[in-house]
Each structure stands twice: as structure tokens, then as C-alpha cells.
Symmetry: C2
Subunit: 109 residues, 2 copies
């Protein structure tokens, strides 16, 4: 798992930017308006997201369109797979326990 994904998302404003981009590409000005931030800070955050591979840019004249890249999220998803396995194991263990408990109850009655 690539750590830089986590560090990039660990900053509140950057996470907000990512969530915004979920609905489609946005320009720096768009993000500045919606998040009520200073333009330079937005640019800086976008730079970090860019370096982390979380977004990509497409220049169009004066503007720059920032778009979400899904690869890192897919990597994250794949990484989580192991953890999913673990909690499913635990869930099954719990189920079995409840089954036994139920069986014991039936015997008592």
C-alpha cells in the first residue's frame, strides 16, 4: 500500500477537494469558491494531490481542469481486502458461537 495516499488524504481540506471532484472535474477557481479558501492554498493542495497521483490535470487555455484518478482508490480497495477477510472470519466465528448457544438453550427446554 502506498503511504502517500494516506498522507494526501490526511489533510481535511484535501479530503474535501477529493470529495468535490467525485462529482466531476473542477477548475481551481471552482474549488476556491466552494471551499472558501485562498486560491494559493488550493493550488498547493492540488499540487500535493497531483504528486500523490490522486488527481490529474488538463490545461485548457487559462484554466486547469482537475479530475479524480481512481487508481489509488482501487489500490486502497484491494488493500482493504485482507481486512475484509479478517472481519468476515470474526463474523463467522460469532455466528457459530450463537448457534452453539442456541443449541444449548434448546436442550435445556
Amino acid at each position: 500500500m502506498d503511504i502517500t495516499t494516506f498522507s494526501a488524504l490526511a489533510e481535511p481540506n484535501r479530503l474535501r477537494i477529493v470529495e468535490l471532484l467525485l462529482d466531476g472535474p473542477l477548475t481551481v477557481g471552482d474549488i476556491t469558491d466552494r471551499l472558501q479558501l485562498q486560491q494559493p492554498q488550493v493550488s498547493k493542495h492540488l499540487r500535493v494531490l497531483l504528486d500523490a497521483g490522486l488527481v490529474e490535470v488538463q490545461a485548457e487555455a487559462n484554466r486547469r481542469n482537475y479530475k479524480l484518478r481512481l487508481d489509488p482508490f482501487q489500490e486502497l480497495d484491494a488493500w482493504l481486502e485482507t481486512y475484509r477477510t479478517v472481519w468476515e472470519e470474526r463474523f463467522e466465528a460469532l455466528e457459530q458461537y450463537l448457534q452453539k448457544l442456541k443449541a444449548k438453550e434448546n436442550k435445556k427446554n
Copy 2:
């Protein structure tokens, strides 16, 4: 999505600790040995993980057993759901495009 999960996982050694705990509870000494770190640093990282709710402790005499908590990972998984939706949409769009391309090819022949 709780940011502290990301910040906690954004540190290499902490991520390694988490991966270790995937195989079951471990003691501070265990982790210290396996990761070749200084014991105080391990304790400090565990403290961060504890505060972030990624692990839980169970004291047993001198030792302390650290165990992975799955809730934050489940939260992460749920958060990713939205992104999964997006990439599935894109995949379907790609499929439809290929279908049309194929249809056009057939017409040509």
C-alpha cells in the same frame, strides 16, 4: 470519513504495526523485535493508533496485548463505496463504447 484514520496510517512504521496485528494480537516487545525499533517509539506509535481507535489494549500483568480494531477499516470500506460506484460507472461507459465500436465494425464488413 474520519481523518485520524488516514493520519495514523500515513506513518510507515505505524502501517507496519497494523499489518503485523493483522495476524493476531501482539505485545509491545513482540512488535519491537519484529520491526527492529526502539521500544519507546513502538509505545508511542501504539499510543497514536490507540487514540485513533485502530487498536485496543488488554493489560495482562506486565505485558500489554495490542489487538486490531476493525471498525475504522469498515468505515474506510464504506467510504470507498462511493468511489467504487464511480469506477463501475466508468467501466460501464467504456463497455458501451466498445459495444458501439464493435457494431460499427460489423456494419463495415
